[in-house]
């Protein structure tokens, strides 16, 4: 594979929650720009925690201590002086359950822009069309943007959530099991959208199954109980894993 640029460099990241559970233990990982990196492994392995470190959403949780560094384009985002608001605009996130805000479809898409102080209608319209097309939702909703977002189907809602984070033109898109509640057709639509996304953005995905990990990954990191067990290009890790535990997991012996 061609040598590519690192978008995010994680160095020796350790995270402890207040309730005493150690969630991440000395993680070091390079996330490559314009590629899809999947973080996979059994539940409780620390994948979501890592994801939520990347946009500092973990600030909202009961975190006791974080150590190590996370460099986004060479700048440490764990630094207390980091502008987390700007960071979150740069690093968008899609959650496991689609959470549409109680507004219209349009209102959901322009929400982040309005928060950032962008109120020009022309910019809104541009962002709506661009992000909906990227999320493969434009065809389905372009003529009913003012309807309540809650009226959409689950799969459409999740693509709306994706479009909503894309409307801010982020550089990195984090997805935390974005298809866990979706039917196979909706799932394939989301996956197809992801495939297009990585041309423009850096994508970090926590997949909801090993199969999805194998389908979508350019790079894959296997997490077990807060530790990074193996990290390699997806083609290698799923066909020729280097450690016994990774092999056991991808072949379905546990998990």
């Amino acid at each position: 594979m061609v040598k590519r640029m690192n978008k995010i460099v994680i160095e020796n990241l350790t995270l402890k929650y207040t309730d005493g559970t150690e969630s991440l233990n000395g993680i070091s990982l390079n996330i490559v720009a314009n590629a899809t990196t999947v973080l996979f492994g059994p539940a409780g392995g620390g994948k979501s925690s890592l994801l939520r470190c990347l946009n500092r959403l973990n600030d909202l949780a009961d975190v006791e201590s974080v150590s190590g560094r996370i460099l986004l384009d060479g700048v440490d985002i764990l630094d207390p002086k980091t502008d987390v608001i700007a960071l979150r605009r740069k690093v968008g996130m899609v959650f496991a359950r689609p959470v549409v805000l109680p507004f219209s479809i349009r209102g959901n898409l322009t929400y982040g822009l309005e928060l950032a102080g962008e109120n020009r209608k022309s910019r809104h319209d541009e962002a709506i069309e661009r992000s909906l097309k990227l999320a493969a939702l434009w065809e389905e909703v372009h003529d009913r943007l003012d309807e309540p977002a809650i009226a959409l189907s689950g799969g459409q809602q999740q693509r709306l959530c994706l479009a909503r984070s894309l409307a801010l033109e982020p550089e990195v898109v984090l997805l935390d099991e974005p298809t866990s509640g979706l039917d196979p057709i909706s799932t394939s639509k989301v996956e197809a959208a992801l495939h297009e996304l990585k041309k423009l953005y850096t994508v970090v995905l926590v997949p909801h199954s090993v199969q999805q990990a194998a389908r979508t990954s350019d790079y894959a990191a296997f997490f077990l109980q807060g530790k990074l067990i193996e990290y390699a290009p997806g083609t290698d890790i799923f066909t020729n894993p280097q450690t016994q535990r990774t092999e056991d997991y991808v072949t379905g012996r546990f998990g």
Binding site: I85, R88, L101, G112
Partner: protein, 287 residues
């Protein structure tokens, strides 16, 4: 044998349901009874003059306009002080404050404030606003006293309404680059607003109907004119009702019930508005 038991069980069940229905009806009957009785006794007194006129002949004749206007002003004054303060406190408790000893103490204080008898608020208002701060016996003192009494209701219902807004909305808003305040202002507050308004109205409704807190702080026995400054004392419906029921000899009974009816309509009207807002918001809610 088993058939006998089945039948018996069905019978017990029917009996139980009937008993519960009866109990429910028993709680409703007195309320309906009171309303019907007051309407029946008070309706003959209601006339244009009664609503818009001043009392005459030692309050035995004429209207109750000063009391109606007074209660309106007092309710408005109470709203001015207690609504912003109550909502701000609720936002702080629900959105900003960490769970610690201080917030537990604040909550405990709020719960206990709600349990204090209203006459004690009256005495407190007399001491603090009328005498110490020298606001005199005035609408200002009375409104402030009623505000303190109303605050716990507003704070706890508003806090509950804020907490009912799904946490996921906050997380999403923050993840889209929102500050805490933007998140509250644009997502949480609008969603909680119907619940907050309902709580506000229920709190104000209680204030509108209270006698004891205004007794020493702002209510006048009789005034020949309308109050025209917050430092004026005022007549008010609940206190007027108390006065004409106990202090004025040879008071025509229909004036008493007419006054009660007006007060009832005032308070029930607010209640109906609150119920309407709540049910409409429930129907429109998107979560």
């Amino acid at each position: 044998m088993s058939n006998f038991f089945t039948k018996n069980r069905e019978l017990t069940q029917k009996l139980g349901f009937s008993l519960l229905t009866l109990m429910t009806l028993l709680t409703v009957i007195p309320i309906i009874g009171v309303v019907i009785y007051i309407i029946a006794q008070g309706a003959p007194a209601i006339s244009w003059e009664f609503i818009t006129g001043f009392p005459r002949d030692g309050m035995r004749e004429g209207g109750i306009l000063p009391a109606i206007i007074g209660t309106f002003y007092l309710t408005l004054g109470t709203a001015i002080f207690s609504v912003p303060l109550g909502i701000a406190a609720a936002i702080y408790l629900s959105e900003y404050a960490a769970e610690n000893r201080l917030t537990r103490l604040i909550r405990l204080a709020i719960i206990n404030l709600a349990g204090i008898p209203s006459v004690v608020y009256g005495l407190f208002g007399l001491g603090l606003f009328v005498l110490f701060l020298k606001f005199r016996t005035s609408m200002l003192s009375a409104s402030l006293t009623l505000s303190i009494m109303t605050l716990p209701v507003i704070i706890s219902t508003a806090e509950e309404a804020l907490r009912a807004v799904p946490q996921s909305f906050r997380t999403v808003s923050i993840s889209l680059g929102g500050t805490r305040w933007q998140t509250i202002r644009r997502t949480v507050l609008p969603q909680a607003l119907p619940g907050i308004i309902t709580g506000v109205i229920l709190g104000l409704e209680r204030a509108a109907g209270e006698t004891a807190p205004i007794l020493f702080t702002g209510a006048a026995f009789f005034l020949p004119r309308l109050p025209h400054s917050p430092f004026d004392a005022t007549m008010a419906l609940p206190y007027h009702l108390f006065v004409i029921s106990t202090q004025v000899p040879e008071m025509p009974i229909k004036i008493q019930y007419g006054t009660a009816l007006v007060l009832l309509v005032f308070v029930l009207g607010m209640n109906v508005i609150a119920t309407f807002i709540r049910s409409r918001a429930r129907a429109k809610r998107q979560w």
